[in-house]
Amino acid sequence: MELLRNNLELRGIKEGCGEGDCGACTVVIGEVRQGKVHYKSAAGCLYLAAKLEGKHLITIEGLSEKGKLHPIQEAILGAHATQCGFCTPGVSLSILALYLERESPTREEFRRYLEGNLCRCTGYVSLREVPEYLKDLSVCSKDIRPGYLTETEEKQLHFVQEDIFVDDGIYAYYSPVSEDNLLEFLHSHTELTEGNNFRYINGGSDVVVGIKKRKQHHRLLIDLSKISSLQDIIYNSSMKDVPENILVTNVLTMGGSVSLSRIIDFTKKIFPVFSEAVEKMCSEQVRSSATLAGNIVNASPVADTVPLLMAVDAKLTLGGPGGERRIPVIDFFHGYKKTKNKTEEWISSISIPLNEYDFIHFEKVSKRKEVDISAVNSAIALKVEQGTITKARIACGGVGATTLYMPKTSKFLEGKEMKEETFLKAFKVIVTEAAPIGDVRGSAEYRKAMMQNLLMKHYLAYKTRQEVDGYEA
């Protein structure tokens, strides 16, 4: 945002909050992944200019061509979806990102892409009509794509990825393209890493907020986002469409630089509860760059992916100068914002065993349904045989200094009947496993109650699923 507004004097981008929560600074970024150019919306206030190397940045100034409004702008006007107009550049670019990736987006996808664009004037009702107006304008994907895209796409496909290293003596930035290069760098630049005043950065949704709002400056930032081996998602199933109810343990392995947006899309079929949980986190502008590894390593007690990862017993693979090592997510945290990875270690992948449970579920409570941080969250994984719980794992966030795995409650449920009463009885057990404190997002008392009530919500979700699917006799 500072580069665009101050250096390039492109002032269509607006600052509404400067911390990735309002969407007024939304830009579209085109980047090459696996031989294809993909587009995403991004929060301009959190996106470091150095990351733009080899990418295509589209700002609102690039939307209309030859003095003619872009169809998206026409549709916004037609739907009366702009009032004061301050949020409108960001809104327009969120819609552009959506239509560049999906030819005819669903209502749900439209909401997913727009929920991060706060508007205080319109009440969003007119905005929801924009897709209809685009249809009425008989807009096809060709009209949506700005004329210059083909040219820039060709350029990008031939772009050679190399390490980037800049150092002005006060701040340094290093962006390697491979883990080997990174190891080599760590070995040869110990003067920058000593004193531990360096940070790994990926999507930057936490690190950049820290730099901007909390003045947490670092001597060196090492950007992991261009390391191609960290971009892989591997699912060891040969089947493309995985039939349901197949109880073979497959492992889903996601690289440390895989963005939350890609995870939503990839896990929609094979691990829908995970997809839904990630979709409830932050906004598309943030998810498109933020990573699962970042959500874990940030070690927030209200990280929304962590309870699920604990419930299914996911494991982390850490890379670093001392070689690779694996650690279960439940053993990774010790104390508020503290993890067991060493300063120079990074998360190279996260492995999730699938199909080991009959029922996996996630619940969160927050003030607002979307784009809000949890007061409490909770995940459960159950194996149920003939109406009896044979295996249970429960984890809760927002009730302690870290996300907590709940061994007593898990054990309590095992061997019990899968019915409401069992869960009601478990209320008494789960409160003994954590002592939540109160803050701006919820009081201690509310959190304690939610820890219990979310257990019941898990049960109710199971019952609903059973009614719908005839799930687990």
């Binding site: 664009n117 007119s126 941080i373």
Partner: protein, 618 residues
């Protein structure tokens, strides 16, 4: 009144609270001051009140007002938060520019803005009410205590409007309204869409809701029973003109929202569901239009018609997303009989329009639209005289950029006498003045503060909203399933604009009553000081099923082009969501007396727990 309370078997008393609300205009407070080579400064400010900025910077710098020019094109949202609270930032920028001789710009970061600028007034209201067994209020006494913060700002006016709306849409024979502005150590509270109206209305609506619960009556019926009828007089002595519109709204909304069917379904749903409860509500609005400070009810405009027929319009209102420029452009184009493209609305500039009132109280279009009307009719009078001179036609119409003769059968559109552009050219050569200043002062408004009597409003806006919610009893989460609004905006100048204002006002209202929570620490520092912790509605918070109707056949003789003001009244519809939550909780057998605005999930959950504890005791 005390005799009524003493004798009445149906009597309730209690406390009703609402928190404040952050404006969260997307554009934070900002100002740019540029020194002029002839001395003085030009100030570009994100303000709803250029006149005050001019006066205050002149005072701060010790300059006469003519040395300060304030120029404002548009704002990235205002909602009242830039009525008085934009001034200090403009003064600071002006001070820096004045002493350095260089341009100075000041923009607040979001957190700074949220920490130190004013919010909506929190209220704590004590009430006593007596009513008959059919729910008709016999006596209502309310003390509205308003948390004004550390500085008076516009607090007394806000409180006054709260008091003037304390009876909302209801005829109450015995009424006592007391207002107390309370000084506290918090940041000063200020104007915010509705300006005290929503707080006064919230108290009486809460009382009616509780009466309905106490008597086991449908809240809709109790409201209809108490409504104003044609000829009724408000507690401050003014007749509620067109009160019969409220009847129309009540009747039509009951039908169109399928209220009775919804009520039945709600009862069935609540009987069948242990962990979810549905609630249904109706919230009517009667909103008085005019500044309660009578001197502010004035507007001004300056119009130039240029040689080529293009028209420049400057008026005293500020465009901040409410599309006042669209409406005023339409008014000018209609009066000149030209396409909208002939008209350009200029920035608000203190050199072109002076001594303007803040754009507030929903009055921007009325006051300045009338001023534009006066200026345009003045120029048209001169042009008509020229037409008479040129064509000897006394009866002509100006339309689509042409002048047509009128015969006994009406206008003859085939053969125009002359185009507007040609006529303007001829007027120039005839040395006719093609510029005019227009002025408007709202007639007949007066209010005696000492007696609490008078005629403070030019007219009233009416409407009502029905909302249906589902409350998750395990978490306290609310989902707004359905909303239906019928709104009386007279003969709308631009229905799309008015509907947009209703949608946006409703959304802000939903935010205020549900998720927007100002959390302070024990020292009064705001903790929810960024969008990470202060949650305004997103696209997913609006109901999937949402209907808005503009009341048909309504004509407002007092408003510009027979329209009604639109900005603030729809905000109050948000309260219907609060009362739908109350209704859902009432289905558990107890009135959630302690629930206050905002009904966050945690606060709703606390009421659910009280319900459960209550059940256990019994």
């Amino acid at each position: 009144m005390e005799a009524v309370f003493a004798d009445c078997p149906n009597y309730l008393e209690g406390v009703i609270c609402n928190d404040g609300q952050e404006h969260f205009y997307l554009e934070t407070q900002s100002a740019l001051a540029v020194p002029e080579d002839t001395g003085g400064l030009t100030i570009y400010s994100s303000s709803q009140n250029p006149n005050e900025i001019q006066r205050m910077t002149a005072t701060v710098l010790g300059l006469p007002q003519h040395q300060i020019t304030v120029d404002i094109k548009r704002l990235g949202g205002g909602f009242g938060g830039k009525e008085s609270q934009a001034t200090v930032w403009a003064c600071l920028a002006a001070l820096a520019a004045f002493h350095t001789g260089r341009p100075a710009k000041l923009c607040l970061a979001r957190e700074e803005d949220m920490l130190c600028t004013g919010k909506r007034h929190a209220f704590e209201s004590n009430y006593r009410v007596a009513f008959d067994k059919k729910g008709k209020i016999l006596a209502y006494s309310v003390e509205l205590n308003s948390n004004c913060g550390a500085v008076a700002d516009v607090s007394t006016s806000v409180l006054e409007r709260a008091m003037l709306h304390a009876e909302n849409s209801y005829q109450i024979e015995n009424i006592r309204i007391i207002g107390r502005p309370c000084k506290t150590n918090l940041h000063p509270a200020t104007a915010f869409r509705g300006f005290g109206g929503p707080q006064g209305i919230f108290a009486i609506e809460s009382v009616l809701q509780r009466i309905a619960f106490t008597l086991g009556l449908d809240p809709y019926d109790v409201r209809v029973k108490n409504r104003y009828r044609q000829g009724d007089i408000a507690p401050y002595g003014e007749e509620i003109i067109h009160a019969e519109h409220m009847d129309k709204v009540f009747d039509k909304l009951r039908k169109d929202s399928l209220w009775d069917e919804r009520r039945k379904n709600t009862i069935t749903f609540n009987a069948e569901n242990k962990y979810y409860k549905k609630g249904l509500s109706i919230t009517p609005v009667k909103f008085g239009i005019s500044f309660t400070a009578a001197h502010l009810n004035q507007g001004s405009a300056l119009i130039h018609v240029y040689f080529d027929g293009s028209i420049s319009v400057t008026h005293g209102a500020i465009e901040m997303g409410q599309e006042v420029n669209t409406k005023i452009g339409q008014i000018a184009a209609t009066n000149f009989g030209v396409p909208l493209s002939y008209v350009r609305i200029e920035s608000n500039n203190t050199k072109r329009v002076a001594n303007t009132s803040p754009t507030a109280a929903s009055s921007g279009c009325d006051l300045n639209g009338y001023a534009v009307e006066a200026a345009s009719l003045e120029i048209m009078k001169r042009l008509r005289e020229l037409v008479l001179k040129l064509f000897s036609e006394a009866e002509v119409v100006f339309e689509n950029g042409f002048v047509y003769p009128v015969t006994a059968d009406g206008a003859t559109y085939e053969n125009p006498l002359i185009s507007f552009i040609e006529l303007v050219k001829k007027a120039y050569y005839e040395r006719i003045n093609l510029s005019a200043h227009g002025f408007y002062a709202t007639p007949g408004i007066h209010f005696d503060r000492d007696k609490g009597q008078g005629h403070p409003f030019l007219y009233y806006v009416f409407g009502a909203a029905v909302s249906e919610v589902t409350v998750d009893l395990l978490t306290g989460h609310t989902t707004l399933d359905y909303a239906h609004i019928i709104h009386d905006c007279g003969s709308s100048i631009n229905p799309r604009v008015d509907v947009g204002q209703i949608q946006g006002g409703f959304a802000q209202g939903i935010g205020w009553v549900t998720t927007e929570e100002l959390v302070y620490n024990e020292k009064g520092k705001l903790l929810s000081s960024s969008p990470a912790t202060y949650k305004i509605p997103t696209i997913g918070d609006m109901p999937e099923e949402f209907h808005i109707e503009l009341l048909e056949g309504s004509i407002n003789e007092q408003g510009i082009k027979r329209s009604k003001a639109i900005g603030e009244p729809p905000f109050v519809y948000g309260e219907s969501v609060f009362f739908a939550i109350v209704d859902a909780l009432c289905s558990m057998g107890r009135y959630p007396e302690e629930l206050s605005i905002p009904a966050t999930p945690e606060k709703v959950w606390r009421e659910i727990r009280r319900n459960i504890d209550n059940g256990r005791k019994e």
